[in-house]
């Protein structure tokens, strides 16, 4: 799928003029249409952040459940796609925070999935290994920019941070991914033992 085609499938831009996408869809009255058009796009953002297919599927449903509850509060200052991605990023970050907290519990009532165990999995790809080396916020910025083709300003709106911070996050993420991808043998990420925390945890 070309970038232009993907762009058409996913979102418009903030200005929105002349570009197809979810711009113009009113979540309050056309929620089923928005759901149909944006489900895969939101799933990919969540999947890139949590790096787990099953969790991403569940969280994507949670994103749309939250969006459905908030549909009457939507204001058309940004395309509905960007609005959904904001909810998706916040939902994924909340989930990852809960998971981190669950790992700190002295009594493990809940056995949280472990990032390190995930990174050791033979099924992971080189790209997933590279993404695992980033913090969730860096993952969000890099996927929104390079896959969904959002501009820095749009990502700044989605993430609620200055566009300069977005630029620095993207640059940092690409540098780390480049380094990790060159360390990982072609065809997969197996063999790399992650011995450090993901980059960008402080942000």
């Amino acid at each position: 799928m070309t970038r232009t085609a993907r762009r058409r499938q996913t979102v418009g831009v903030v200005s929105g003029e002349g570009r197809p996408g979810s711009w113009g869809i009113d979540p309050a009255t056309q929620f089923p249409l928005l759901y149909e058009r944006e489900y895969e796009s939101v799933f990919r953002t969540v999947r890139a952040m949590v790096l787990d297919q099953a969790e991403a599927e569940d969280l994507t449903q949670e994103v749309f459940a939250r969006a459905y509850r908030a549909r009457l509060r939507y204001r058309p200052t940004a395309p509905p796609g960007a609005w959904l991605h904001r909810i998706a990023v916040n939902t994924a970050l909340s989930y990852l925070r809960r998971r981190k907290l669950a790992r700190l519990l002295p009594v493990r009532l809940y056995q949280a999935p472990d990032d390190r165990a995930y990174a050791r999995s033979e099924a992971r790809t080189a790209v997933e290994t590279a993404l695992a080396a980033l913090s969730p916020k860096l993952r969000a910025a890099v996927v929104l920019h390079y896959f969904h083709d959002y501009s820095r300003e749009e990502i700044a709106t989605i993430l609620g941070i200055p566009s300069g911070t977005v630029a620095s996050r993207i640059a940092k993420a690409v540098a780390v991914m480049r380094r990790v991808l060159n360390d990982v043998p072609p065809g997969g990420g197996a063999g790399r033992e992650p011995n450090s925390a993901p980059v960008g945890c402080e942000q």
């Binding site: 799928m1 970038r3 993907r6 929620f31 089923p32 759901y35 149909e36 489900y39 895969e40 799933f43 990919r44 999947r47 890139a48 297919q53 991403a56 599927e57 994507t60 449903q61 949670e62 749309f64 459940a65 939250r66 459905y68 509850r69 790809t125 080189a126 790209v127 997933e128 590279a130 993404l131 890099v142 996927v143 390079y146 896959f147 690409v174 991914m177 480049r178 991808l181 060159n182 072609p186």
Partner: protein
């Protein structure tokens, strides 16, 4: 001849695009199911608060029973007992 090292590196952006493009949900769930989930969102916190309240009440009752049982053995126990049991 000098080899362009940048070309021999794997481009992370192209790899990312190709990889993310292959990610697809196993299926798009029925919107009705998502709407039900949205409408039932209040149940979990209410159930949690209810369970927490019940647990606190159980602890208070248990402590009261223990105090009644051991009241003769502790200093001032009779005063506590008289507060716990209405005349």
């Amino acid at each position: 001849m000098k080899v362009d090292e940048r070309r021999s590196e794997r481009d992370p952006i192209e790899l990312l695009r190709a990889e993310v493009d292959t990610w697809r949900p196993q299926g798009v769930p029925d919107l009705i199911r998502v709407m039900r989930r949205a409408e039932g969102h209040w149940r979990r916190p209410v159930a949690l608060a209810s369970a927490l309240g019940a647990a606190v009440l159980a602890v208070v009752l248990l402590v009261s029973v223990i105090l009644l049982a051991v009241s003769p053995a502790i200093p001032g126990g009779e005063t506590i007992r008289s507060h716990l049991i209405a005349p």
